[in-house]
């Protein structure tokens, strides 16, 4: 575990970052029994006293509702359903065909997204370049981190390679490096590129590269962990251990087998020994190199892995060790469960997890094969709506479904920059988790009242075009009305089909009536107050629903 922004006061964030976790309990079925009561005739009488207003819904069939499998694919392997993505899947031949195509991201044109890199001046600089700027500029490390977060959010929202973005986020969170950790930001972009390169490849190759990447080594202190050899006057060599166990431990506990595998403290020590040798020329060239004299030699044993480890060049031992860990059954179980929890539900069946673990191992840790097995499992399509969107997924989905387009930012308030502050306001800054275990991924974690209030703020400020208000083009309010005049209940159904990919429910229609004091039979035109003044409240509320906040 790593302290944030320690040792370099220059890098301290002006406002700090916090992350919202509330692993509060699910009160399942708490109040499900209170449906079906007599319908009040008007909104004015209801909801304050606990009687829901449930007017009958009408269907606006001109706006299609996507097949459940399309919605599921769009919400799990892209950053949220939009009517355009639904059409894209249909054109591709259905969600499965779309998914297969997404497995080959190189074949998908994505030029618009490529341009995002030029929007942020810190992108593309080398570690020495970063450092020389940081020496002269307070807060530069924070700038690098925020820009990287912004760039990531832009890609998540607008890339055509949605699956690649989703999997890059997943693996970045699994092999997590805290974005604000001291010095790791110097190589952050390269670390991201490494994860991205392997995100749809093989886990064993990703683990090999990530473990010895500068960002990871520095984050978990491994480049400082070494032995020192000194030759005495009599010619004998004295070895002093300067071992730091941080990466050796987390490699086992978090990145691969997990504590359930039952390794001992001695084996944690051996894990740290194996990692010695990789060194960064800190505060000088910043170059990574292997220094054999810093490598601990002597027999090592971790679980079923043993090595004589007699050579001062321990790189081959490390490669073998990482290979052993990547292919360990306990690793397969953990990765399988993590994928199932991420893409299916918070409580995946053992059957699904075991199946994915088998495919993962049998395929030699092939990620494409494992994901394909996941979407082919019946549990995948049966799990629609069962996941709580994380706060940043909610932010991304909000901009996507509102059809907002961002332009190159010129100031902090411009949308492509303020996106970072919006993420912060909902309690989940990209890569902003201090500890090496990565953001939690379950509904309990992301359901605190604070998250709800933060998400309401984002939904309503974007629905109203109030924040961000610059560097962004929103759909006009008028454009949401699909024909010159329309009953309010049909209009709400159209909005639900567009925003949620689902028909309106009586509960939602009733709440929509309440929030803007309309009745289902009101005839809505461009001059009606619903379009002219109250649309932000209406669309904001439709985003404040379970339909939008779950996936």
């Amino acid at each position: 575990m790593q302290k944030g922004l320690r040792m370099s006061p220059k890098l301290a964030s002006p406002d700090g970052t916090s992350v919202n976790i509330s692993r509060r309990g699910v009160i399942a079925g708490a109040a499900a029994a209170s449906a079906a009561v007599a319908l009040p005739v008007a909104w004015a009488d209801s909801a304050s006293a606990g009687t829901p207003y449930l007017p009958p819904v009408r269907s606006y069939t001109q706006t299609p509702v996507p097949a459940a499998a399309i919605r599921q694919m769009a919400n799990r392997f892209a950053y949220g359903y939009t009517p355009a993505l639904g059409e894209e899947m249909t054109t591709a031949g259905g969600p499965r065909a779309w998914f297969d195509r997404q497995l080959r991201p190189d074949e998908i044109s994505d030029t618009a997204t490529g341009a995002f890199a030029s929007w942020y001046p810190t992108i593309g600089r080398t570690a020495p370049e970063h450092f020389s700027i940081a020496e002269m500029r307070n807060g530069y490390g924070y700038e690098v981190w925020t820009n990287h977060g912004r760039w990531s959010m832009m890609r998540r929202m607008y890339s055509q390679r949605q699956l690649l973005e989703v999997m890059t986020e997943f693996w970045c969170n699994h092999l997590h490096v805290y974005g604000g950790a001291d010095l790791t930001w110097l190589w952050r972009e390269g670390y991201d590129a490494l994860i991205r390169k392997h995100a749809l490849g093989r886990f064993d190759e990703m683990l090999q590269d990530a473990t010895v990447h500068e960002s990871m080594l520095v984050y978990l202190d491994a480049d400082l962990s070494r032995v020192v050899r000194r030759v005495t006057q009599s010619g004998s060599t004295v070895v002093t251990e300067k071992i730091n166990e941080n990466l050796g431990r987390e490699l086992l506990e978090l990145h691969t087998v997990g504590r359930a595998a039952g390794y001992t403290e001695t084996e944690v020590r051996d894990s740290a020994y194996i990692l010695t040798g990789w060194t960064i020329d800190r505060f000088n060239t910043w170059r990574l190199s292997y220094v054999p004299d810093s490598h601990y030699t002597g027999a090592v044993k971790v679980l079923g892995f043993t090595a004589a480890n007699s050579s001062r060049d321990g790189r081959a031992v490390l490669v073998d060790y990482l290979q052993y860990l990547a292919h360990h059954p306990a690793t397969a179980q953990r990765i399988a469960r993590k994928l199932a929890v991420r893409f299916v539900s918070d409580t995946p069946s053992d059957d699904l997890v075991n199946h994915l673990a088998d495919v993962f191992r049998d395929s030699g840790t092939d990620i494409k094969a494992t994901l394909t097995a996941l979407i082919e499992h019946p549990e995948f399509n049966a799990a629609g709506g069962k996941k709580v969107r994380t706060p940043t997924e909610d932010v991304a989905a909000t901009f996507r479904v509102l059809g907002a387009r961002m332009s190159k930012p010129n100031s902090n308030g411009d949308a492509a920059n303020s996106i970072f502050y919006q993420c912060k306001s909902v309690g989940q800054v990209p890569f902003g988790w201090e500890r090496p275990d990565g953001f939690p991924d379950n509904g309990q974690a992301w359901s605190s009242a604070a998250r709800l209030m933060g998400s309401y703020r984002v939904h309503n400020s974007t629905a109203g075009h109030w924040y961000p208000s610059t560097g962004i083009t929103y759909r006009s309010h008028a454009s949401w009305l699909p024909q010159p005049q329309l009953r309010f209940d049909l209009f709400v159904d159209h909005l639900c089909r567009t925003l949620h990919g689902r028909r309106a429910t009586r509960l939602v229609l009733g709440a929509a009536c309440l929030v803007i004091e309309a009745t289902p039979g009101d005839m809505i035109t461009q001059d009606h107050r619903v379009i002219k003044y109250r649309l932000p409240r209406l669309i904001g509320l439709l985003l404040d629903t379970q339909q939008h906040m779950t996936k």
Binding site: R6, S13, G16, V26, G29, A47, S48, R537, G540, D544
Partner: protein
């Protein structure tokens, strides 16, 4: 927290089923407040009752740097570069002295309102951050039912008041708060509102609409949404006014300072705060722990100084209200006796606990000192006082709570730290 660990999924399941069965239980609400790196949770109880503040030093703080065993012959040899010099220590006795960064608290110590207990912690070593935190905060070791000790504490309360929790922005709910009692989170009090309405009339309608949407919603989002509705209704107006600390208290401009200032405000607002937990850290100083000359915000010197200033401001601000408030520090584990190759400290075991405020028999050090035992690299400080004994004594003294209800299957040892 290894939420994706196989073991944790079992735990989530067992907890969920536990909660289903525990629905009949309601009690004081719990709020979570987060200020950047500092997180705070608040449990609401009786309006003028005693208050316990639990300051969690996240990441495993090094007790040997905070309560320094200068009289142990192995201390200075084990830490050639990072030991705290004897001459700099505060309130020294033959064995111990406090880190000079705690200078602002010296007056509390000499007024016998503050103490330190050494060689405290979990009964068995656990060097994993994630599971050690869960063990400390669940504090019912070995039990399959996962509720935190604070949740159990407030569950004992006869006061079954409505949800009255402060919640803004973000907050980390520690294991100590897990359980059937509702919980909330916030980072800035001014954010306690249902954003999205432009005037009072619209606000009324928006509340009705959100109430309808979420009133019967299943799952964690429903609970969070209902908590946000309750919080904004009951606490929002009270917190809308500007807060000025009393008695000339000056909080440091840090996350901890802000969080403690807001805690003082809540205690003084008499909304029924009973337990507040704050997370302050990270203290996970594997490298570059620093010396007294290292004043960076993440160094030991920077962290301890910030803590000393913030705690002193907190008790100054509370004034007479402080007669209701007791504060204790916890951390998941101590660190190794000997410094590592990176002038840092790897994960260890035993630690030191700071205790201050109302009811504390302070002005001296407590705990049986086990000695540092030879100072080779793998030596930990052995634990001679289970941290649950400390909490048991505080709870008995301040809340009249029996230890067994909060720490089942545990026999506390009498320490005599509380009046």
């Amino acid at each position: 927290m290894t939420t994706n660990d196989c073991s944790c999924t079992d735990y989530a399941d067992s907890r969920r089923s536990f909660l289903r069965n525990a629905l009949a239980v309601t009690g004081g609400a719990v709020a979570t407040v987060a200020f950047g790196e500092t997180f705070r949770q608040t449990a609401y109880g009786a309006t003028d009752g005693n208050v316990l503040v639990v300051l969690s030093l996240r990441g495993g703080a090094d007790g040997l740097s905070i309560v320094v065993p200068h009289g142990d012959p192995d201390y200075y040899p084990a830490r050639p570069r990072i030991a705290v010099p004897k001459a700099s220590l505060l309130v020294r006795d033959d064995l111990f002295g406090l880190h000079p960064g705690l200078k602002p608290l010296e007056a509390m110590w000499t007024a016998n309102k503050m103490t330190a207990i050494h060689a405290t912690g979990l009964p068995q070593p656990n060097r994993s951050h994630f599971s050690a935190v869960e063990e400390i905060e669940d504090a019912d070791l070995g039990s399959a039912v996962r509720t935190g000790w604070i949740n159990r504490l407030i569950g004992l309360d006869a006061d079954k008041g409505p949800l009255e929790a402060v919640t803004v922005g973000s907050g980390l709910l520690p294991t100590s708060m897990y359980g059937p009692e509702p919980t909330l989170a916030t980072d800035r009090t001014e954010n306690i509102q249902l954003f999205g309405a432009q005037d009072d009339a619209a606000q009324v309608q928006r509340r009705k609409a959100l109430t309808q949407l979420w009133e019967d919603a299943e799952g964690p989002l429903g609970l969070g949404a209902r908590s946000s509705l309750a919080t904004t209704a009951t606490l929002g107006p009270a917190l809308a006014q500007r807060y000025v600390p009393a008695n000339g208290a000056t909080y440091p401009d840090s996350d901890l300072g802000l969080a403690l200032k807001d805690t003082a405000r809540l205690v003084k607002a008499r909304v029924g705060v009973e337990v507040v937990t704050l997370d302050y850290g990270s203290w996970d100083m594997h490298s570059g722990l620093g010396t007294l000359d290292s004043t960076g915000p993440g160094s030991m010197q920077g962290m301890v100084s910030n803590m000393g200033q913030a705690l002193a401001a907190f008790f100054t601000d509370l004034g007479v209200v402080g007669d209701r408030v007791t504060l204790v520090t916890l951390t998941e584990f101590g660190r190794r006796v000997q410094e590592n190759g990176a002038t840092g400290l790897d994960h260890g075991w035993g630690n030191a606990t700071l205790l201050m405020g109302s009811g504390v028999k302070g002005g001296r050090y407590y705990g049986r000192w086990p000695g540092l035992g030879g100072a080779n690299v793998d030596v930990d400080v052995a634990v001679t006082t289970d941290y649950r004994s400390i909490l048991s004594e505080i709870l008995a003294s301040r809340f009249g709570t029996s230890s067994s209800a909060v720490f089942p299957n545990f026999q506390p040892q009498a320490l005599g730290i509380m009046a």
